[in-house]
Symmetry: C2
Subunit: 318 residues, 2 copies
């Protein structure tokens, strides 16, 4: 029997569960950016979230949904990005261990981030198979609970709390847009928007160089992300079966944007709003730049998903 | 007869005058930065101010202090940095012209900024003499009022509103620190701090490579800034007679910081707080990094003075 997809009540419950542990991040506006595009944009600043990304919401919700006995054995994952860092900090805040399986070849900066949040690392070869096998071994050895990075209802509901807060703060919106990778954030965003603003358009934005979600919606079945090429390194993954089902139910549209627009949007956020946003987080604004979202005269909520960038390797040129 | 130095009542009047035109910028905190240094830091985010710097406060106050007749003839200055941009926007918001004298050799990015805010540019040779002569000619021709960038009571009182807001938001502080260049921001900060928190220490921070304020306080007379070398390009100027008199009255200490600390502080603000701060604005946090400010267990207010950086020329290395 197929699992029911989560509903808005589940997001609201997740919000009660996590609200004492996550930042209620600010919603910022920029009159100069609004003037440029003749619109009213509301930026939900998850770049200011703990560990610098919305991932902390889902990780915290997943951990707080465990039984005391499960908690005591800890949690684990084989992501090496923001989800791993988020799971480590969320685990540490609950006083439980976090086991992270990551490729030996992962960038040093990611290893340091995981260690700085107290994660216990097991290295593996740099293949998905090795990561999954490594994770199975860690689960067998420690009894920890595997927490996937997006295709899980507790993760989806946790991520949905960002859009819930956004809408609580802004009131009526015509459009809500977020980046889409595996679909965890986008699923939660769609559920919250449908729950609070049934009339609003829900738009997913992804890089043209990693347009598996776009193609999945065209074809009606999950098209895996094969050899994606984009600076938005948080959006490389394929949709999961649960996130795809949520999105088929609630999403109005997937639009794609170019690499040039992503960098231009990121630059606009840094220069005008003086905030650090990672390429993946700038993707929804890129869709405004490209006029892929009909924003003229409208009120548009955008989720700035994260702010973790390597400052010594930035994409800005003269 | 010497002009009286401004008092806190003058800053309070300036605040009433400008409060409908300037952003009341947020005061941010970072639990991770506080943990690193075992202190409680309160960052007054003037990088989020209009035109990206506190300069907008002083420029607005100077303009709103003019008579209607003076206003109609416009304002002018020969700064090419944040003050020029601030004066242009403040003038445009009041519907009056702003005349900017700037060297032909000024960076293109600064010319564009001034033009984008509607400034009317007169180019001159790149010497202080040529700038002053150019300004005199513009004043003679247009009848505009010259608005200096720091050594003026209306500028000082406008800049002081940042610290006033900071303290109104935080309550009791043990230390208030700001960067010092010409001393406009620092003078206003000192007046507001003495007015609201008579017991707090008031500390000015400057780059060791532009330590004219430090040497001025040692010698008791203004030591000009000659060939300063620092990445903090907002802090190159010498003190003025009025700012020096205010600071002799109110300042507890000037401390200096290295270039390495300035870049490290800037990086910490970008990486941990996800905010864009210019080198000059990171200078007070550099003093915390170097332990030049006794911050352990204390509540410390720091003014992040601005966020205008050229993103294609950042100082971060691996």
């Amino acid at each position: 029997m197929r699992e029911d997809i989560p509903v808005f009540g589940d997001v609201a419950e997740a919000h009660e569960r996590i609200r004492n542990y996550v930042h209620r991040t600010p919603v910022l506006t920029s009159s100069s950016i609004n003037q440029i595009f003749n619109t009213s944009l509301f930026f939900k600043c998850e770049n200011f979230q703990k560990v610098g990304a919305f991932k902390f919401r889902g990780a915290t919700n997943a951990i707080l949904s465990l039984s005391e006995e499960e908690k005591s054995r800890g949690v684990g994952t084989h992501s090496s990005g923001n989800h791993a860092a988020a799971l480590c900090l969320a685990a540490r805040m609950q006083g439980i261990p976090a086991y992270i399986v990551m490729p030996r070849t992962a960038p040093e900066i990611k290893k340091i981030a995981v260690k700085s949040y107290g994660g216990i690392i097991t290295y593996c070869e740099p293949t998905l198979e090795a990561r999954e096998k490594g994770m199975e071994e860690v689960v067998a050895r420690t009894g920890c609970t595997f927490v996937p990075s997006y295709n899980h209802r507790n993760i989806i509901c946790g991520q949905g709390t960002a859009a819930k807060e956004l809408i609580e703060d802004t009131g009526e919106l015509d459009v809500v847009a977020a980046p889409i990778g595996g679909g965890g954030l986008m699923s939660g965003t769609a559920i919250s928007t449908r729950g609070l603003l049934p009339g609003a358009r829900v738009i997913a934005v992804e890089p043209a160089g990693a347009d598996d979600a776009y193609r999945s919606f065209l074809s009606g079945k999950i098209v895996p992300s094969i050899n994606p090429q984009t600076i938005a390194d948080g959006l490389l993954t394929s949709l999961g079966d649960l996130t795809f089902r949520v999105l088929k139910e609630h999403l109005d549209e997937v639009v794609t944007v170019t690499e040039e627009s992503i960098v231009a949007a990121m630059r606009l956020l840094w220069e005008r709003m003086k905030i650090v946003v990672e390429p993946s987080g700038a993707v929804p604004l890129a869709a405004i730049l490209e006029k892929k979202i009909d924003a003229g005269g409208k009120r548009v909520g955008l989720i700035l998903s994260g702010g973790n960038v390597d400052l010594s390797r930035l994409p800005f040129k003269t």
